[in-house]
Symmetry: D2
Subunit: 342 residues, 4 copies
């Protein structure tokens, strides 16, 4: 069986194992005060061209989301998200479990509706009894989004303006950032993120690492004593070196973006094969392709391939084919062959 | 510089890297539904001789402590711990951050004072206005304790009786369990733990793994929908295989205990060398040795060795020398040589 | 200025002051163990014809909502509410502050869309990765709703069926229950509530009391050690007698319902006056009337009357006129006179 | 039976009922924006001679404690209290339920040990790995303390210095403040409190009101958007007028202190009677007297009087006789008569 279910099916990039093996018996201090962690921070600061950002390595996406949000908000403050945002859908209410409401607005192809987002802030501050409602204080977006779409730089700038106008934070979840950076439709780079957001993170888990997300904080309020939050929420690894070594490897040179290009190239080939055969697709610019298939086609392909059901509709089903840094070209070719035979 | 500061200075056991390398490009399902995770669970069930225990692999110790405690307790329930317990001292109030009081009682050489522990329960249930105080519902102990001491089986049985009497849970933190199992003074095995506790965990981070703690749950109440808690608290790794493969390696055979014996042997040698030279020690049965040194001796040894200051007293300082599965005999021999020259 | 802004403009029913005055210097035990509290519980048990319900007197509506919800749910469980529900709109995220997501579905004239409500449960339990989403465990409704509408007994029975099917709780917020019971369109009585809900409360604050809400619990799970929750969340008054005496007075005889009829009668008169003059209304069955007015009319009436802007639309504004147990007929007559002159 | 069990046995001062009766049918805005609330704030500002303090009326002591503490602290910050402090003993872990550790130090006759308190701060900031422990950020004291003792102005100044030195808040719980102000051993007045604390509160419940505590905030950080906290935690009464009218009455003139003097006078008489008969007492300066009695004496007195067992010792029992603003002289005289007959 060949799997296209997700971008976390394989292990990690072999260069990471190499580096781990090489340094394994070196003695390093714990809790992120080690050679690799410190070097990885410098490499990333260099890439974002911002010496002043604070960088922390956390373990996973849900963990990073709730720690960033919890650390930023006062008890009565809320975060605004697209209703399709990961924090609003697939994190078991982790943000609410830290005490904060996630205010949702509609999404356009996975992206937050910017006008509705602004309205949330405007309505709150126009309200005479504003203390009866949670105060919106942060905008959460994912780039790429949960459905693989990309914000434009102009959209990001608009969100920045809203955040500035209402004294709110802009937080960008980059769990799949590598696939965004590698897409030819993307016009946002790491420096833009370090300029336009208060805080964002560079996803490792889905982009070549075993696990790990690099939080990059620009806003001084959010930097303040952030390590207490990491420790209190169980994200401070005793052997922090294992997060450091992974980001060191991925950002020593351009490995992070380069390996993600593989996913984009193969993703386009899959979409193209379906389209040539007449299937409707959502034309996604990153490593996830969404195809409308009938039950018969799904059944046929399922003897050899595994892929995810995204949404059942009346007569069609939207399925997802996901590629990654690790997807083998031969597997994609085999899939294309089978599509042609449909 | 040779470091004896902690038992998480080196990476992980080389066999783990081997197994990771071997399986790296295999495609596995995410979130702990993979070959290695499933095999590792079977291996541990076999070791504890209990088919019915539920096993989950989490990332770190603080995380495991607060998730287990939070999942077990109702909002007004509290956990009883020695005042030297890790949850009471070095977790940045993680348990309190989930809403629960840690009721502390005195420790005897790191172990909870059993009579005082029982008194906490008795006093609460004797109180006419008991709803004005948090209800004690769980006993938390570490084995080995934070200072390296060990509970006897008899003590564990007494704590079990208290838990039974007051309808409370007994939770054992085994962050350094391997060093306990490997100690010649230990009379508690994995089967005892699975019989006497409601839930315990087998520490990986400090006993040969990169990271990871294996939670073993006996009590059905605590098993109920535990995965929701793991996910909500950011402990469910997308690539759960990396936790699975580590425990698979450590428990495939007796690797886990065997590599910890190295730490015990070398620890004893260090203590013995200090004692032969007339220094007072705390005579700890596991991989941590506590020695009373004067400032001059500390200064002398510090040119070549690093070790932790545990407690400053008026004329002496209590320092800790920590060994691990990875400590090299040659380094210990060099230390002993220097001790002899003092 | 004559105010129709809300139903909490005046103090409390004079009979309550009488009873307080009469018993003021009596010595009673604290924390709800007093003559009046105990008698009030018996009176309510009698009214609901259910000896086995547990009754507790809390101070306010937001407090009651979050304590009931927090006490009922495990950390990863959520409550389902209409998007217009009070917990979803005007409680500053109180429920989320206790760690729980409020899952919202559309409302029909303030009432939860029953099909959508059921879909939330169905979708969750159909999901393969259900632990990635909060588990719906409670349905929250208000009767009357926030916009003054009423559930029918049949609707309540349907919601009960959904709750039973999915092992969930049905919780009814009766902050304005008196106005519901007094409405001629209402077909639900106190006995129905005690049969069909797991927990509900009888609002005092808006129905004649100074403050106070009487929580009535049927489900044994929810009864369990509820007083710990009351105390922990700051709702256990030292002088609990002052809540007891108010419910004693309101339920000694039929004072509670009787005084609310005044609000219904006068409310109908106001609506009727507007309708006769050609204004569109929402035709609400309880003590809140929603009228579509133009700016000019609003301005004219505002010289003598105060009322709330509910929603601004393009060419009209929806305003609310609220009556209560305390509304004076002469004030309503004066308003009607002015409406006629428009 | 004559009760000396507590200072919340009777209702409220008759003048409060008078004022409530007088204004009962007046229409006032809700949520604390009414004539009485606003007037009461001015009266208190006048008494503390500080225009800039923010004043809020909350319902009860536990509620006030956890809202003030929760609103002041970041997630990883803790409050330092005497181990006998109300938040550490009789609030069902309310502070922990909001996520914060209560760090306890020894008490001297109910008062926090000042040196130990300072050591908590010093140790934290001296620690190399301070993010592994909760950060102390607030000192909590009660005046009078839970055992009726009083801080001197000098002690309060010392605590202020510690707070300043470590950038922490000083919070004074004045649940029984009236009895402190009325004591002849007290050298702290309301102006001192407004100068020396960041926030304190004036207890109503135990000093003549039905319920209610007046929070007085000096520190601008703590003032910020405090009403959101009040609302979110269920402490914002719709009919806030009922808290306002009580403090208006108590602080219109010197009623608050004057009625508390009654308690002090009668309390001294009780202690004196016991002492003259040779019983050992704790010589408390406020409205609680602690007497060492043997079982036989307790039994004798219990036929006519009720009082609280404070602590059982081997051969004696420490009991508490509590007076209040409402205690009748004739009841005290009857008690004294019986003491003389012992």
């Amino acid at each position: 069986m060949i799997y296209f279910d997700s971008d976390y099916l394989e292990g990690c990039h072999p260069k990471i194992i190499e580096e781990i093996t090489k340094s394994n018996m070196n003695q390093y201090h714990g809790y992120g005060d080690d050679y690799y962690t410190n070097e990885a921070k410098l490499l990333i600061k260099n890439k974002i061209k911002n010496e002043k950002s604070d960088i922390h390595f956390l373990v996973g996406g849900t963990q990073t989301n709730f720690i960033v949000i919890k650390s930023a908000l006062k008890a009565y403050e809320a975060v605004v998200s697209a209703d399709s945002g990961h924090i609003a859908t697939h994190e078991t209410g982790a943000v609410e479990s830290t005490g904060h409401k996630v205010i949702t607005v509609n999404n356009n192809d996975g992206k937050i509706d910017i006008d509705e987002c602004e309205k949330v802030f405007k309505d709150h501050f126009d309200d005479d009894k504003k203390e009866h409602t949670p105060k919106p204080k942060m905008i959460y977006i994912s780039h790429p989004t949960e459905s693989g779409s990309l914000y434009t730089k102009k959209e990001l700038e608009k969100l920045r303006q809203i955040a500035d106008k209402y004294d709110a934070y802009l937080f960008l979840d980059g769990a799949r950032l590598g696939y965004g950076l590698a897409s030819d439709e993307n016009d946002i780079n790491l420096c833009d993120l370090a300029t336009l957001t208060d805080v964002f993170y560079i996803g490792g888990t889905k982009c070549g690492a075993m696990m790990g997300e690099a939080v990059v904080i620009q806003n001084d309020n959010l930097k303040y004593e952030f390590r207490y939050h990491i420790k209190q929420n169980g994200a401070l690894l005793a052997k922090g070196r294992f997060l450091g070594v992974q980001f060191y490897t991925l950002f020593n040179g351009d490995l992070y973006t380069r390996i993600c290009e593989n996913a984009i190239d193969l993703s386009k080939k899959i979409r193209s094969a379906f389209e040539q055969k007449g299937f409707k697709t959502l034309n996604s610019p990153t490593n996830q392709q969404f195809i409308f298939l009938d039950e018969k086609t799904i059944e046929k392909l399922s003897d050899e391939f595994s892929f995810e059901t995204w949404q059942k509709m009346e007569d069609k089903t939207l399925v997802r084919f996901c590629t990654s840094w690790a997807t083998k070209e031969e597997n994609v070719n085999r899939l294309i062959e089978r599509i042609k035979q449909l």
